[in-house]
Symmetry: C2
Subunit: 208 residues, 2 copies
């Protein structure tokens, strides 16, 4: 079984890249599906769950409790249990044994024992703002300045969540196998190139 | 004309990757050739030049003089002029108009106007130490501990030189188009994959 995890800067096109890689390689694709499953089970909104699990859960964690999220005093029990459930869900996906791509969720760390190929996707601030503006179709229109602040804030939260969960630096080159800057690329033209890399990577891994 | 620049962590295999890419793509290859030309002209040792130009020249630069290396007081005139000469040499190579790969020398920054493809190559400390041990064929044998310290020191110097020259962060994902972790790869198996990426990148750049 082959697993590709994709970590990404907000607005960098990592999600689209993941979907296209899944199409090209014939892998299953997981992103919001995990949130959706948890939301249905707990009758919570997906937005709330997203913010708890990926972006903000650390805000209630005392900083001295790095590297462990179980048994932290003052840490809302519901957040801890959601995080454990998400971890369980990810491991179930892996145990099912089908080739898959997982975007976000710190899957690179959580599924480490399955030797996933770990990609990181980044881009320039200009292109991230442009991409965010293009996909804003829910009526909420932010100014460029506010979007910039939002992008920086979400990435800061992702980095902090990651640090607390794993102790390995979010976005740091040594944490990933390949760091792809999407600046100047159409994701649909980039995807086959990364798929070619992924195929070679898994061939290599098989020999190890 | 197409230029690929390779920045790299010491011991990561960036030089070998550059050579193999040059072979596969039919590009000219520059690395020590630049140092050799300068050394011959000035009747200096290549080792001294290397340390001045890439690793240590900043040590005499007051930190308040970031982002400009001309007209810095107390900065040894010989170092400044060597750096300017190296910059001139790099620009001459670019002006010659032949496809080429340049390893190190902050070529990504210096040749920015030529829209080079900028790669960064990294690896795990374990593999960097292993690679350094394998290529130590000049009689100097360092212990693992000393090698680790040497690797960290050289990269620290490279980062500082880069910061002073360009103001853009050495090794930071946003500075490069692709960051390649060579951990677990035979460079000869990795090279065709990166060559495939480079070819696609230049096709895309042509359309822009």
């Amino acid at each position: 079984m082959r697993i590709i995890t994709i970590s990404r800067e907000f607005g960098s096109g990592g999600r689209e890249l993941g979907k296209r890689l899944a199409d090209i390689l014939g892998f299953d694709y997981y992103d919001r599906e995990i949130i959706t499953a948890l939301a249905e089970k707990h009758d919570m909104s997906e937005e709330y769950l997203e913010s708890v699990l990926e972006n903000n859960f650390w805000q209630t964690v005392p900083l001295t409790y790095h590297h462990s999220f179980e048994g932290i005093p003052h840490f809302p029990a519901i957040n801890t249990s959601l995080l454990i459930e998400q971890t369980k869900l990810l491991k179930e996906i892996a145990k099912a044994g089908k080739d898959c791509i997982i975007v976000g969720r710190n899957a690179d760390y959580i599924l480490n024992e399955y030797n996933p190929l770990n990609l990181f996707v980044c881009s320039s601030m200009e292109e991230k703002i442009k991409r965010c503006m293009e996909r804003e179709n829910d009526g909420e229109v932010l100014t460029e300045k506010k979007l910039r602040r939002k992008i920086l804030q979400i990435d800061k939260n992702r980095a902090k969540t990651r640090d607390i969960i794993s102790g390995k630096r979010w976005g740091y080159r040594g944490t990933y196998h390949l760091t792809v800057n999407t600046e100047g690329w159409e994701i649909k033209e980039l995807a086959p190139v990364i798929a070619n890399y992924a195929t070679a990577w898994f061939q290599k891994a098989k020999k190890d």
